[in-house]
Subunit: 108 residues, 2 copies
């Protein structure tokens, strides 16, 4: 099974691979909550986010890395602090207008 690669895959395989990674990153309650917090409160360091998420530091770091690797959030380091925020352009590219309430700061 799965020996032959249909012609279709050669061109679209990369695209599906890319979206698999992005959707996987946002397919988690905790990570959606993190994204929602950035939407509402804007850029924030890990130390301020941790108490809001009620999560251990290493666990939070793990989830932030997954979102960062998928380009869903951005990171800016200043001294000892790491400031994270939503990558709004990426969110807009990915999600519908109807999901605006959760992940777009302007409307709703």
């Amino acid at each position: 099974m799965e020996r032959n690669i249909p012609l279709q895959d050669i061109s679209k395989g990369k695209i599906f691979e890319k979206y698999e990674a992005k959707f996987k990153a946002i397919a988690d309650q905790k990570r959606l909550q993190i994204m929602n917090i950035f939407t509402e409160k804007g850029e924030m360091c890990v130390c301020d986010l941790a108490p809001l998420m009620d999560m251990s530091q290493s666990k939070l770091s793990y989830h932030l890395k997954i979102l960062l690797d998928a380009n869903i959030i951005t990171k800016r380091t200043e001294g000892t602090w790491s400031y994270y925020n939503l990558n709004q352009a990426e969110i807009n590219h990915l999600l519908s207008e109807e999901l605006c309430c959760l992940f777009r700061p302007t409307s709703c």
Copy 2:
């Protein structure tokens, strides 16, 4: 850790739970490919989809169930056959206009 539930979660927890399930369903290359086939070819029985996906029957059945449970696709049974198709309304609710090329039949 994780003892106290922030106030926010009480109202939004259900929403995040719902989207976790939906994004999890589409966070897979194979399932994205299935969705894309429905987009391009419309309603189809499992027996016609299997060779296009080059996948064993039980494996395909497993992936179709995941998409169906998340309401991403629809199912219609006729005799021995099961016909599946995209749930376009759900796709539109979930994904951006820019993902139209992959999962909306009209444009592109």
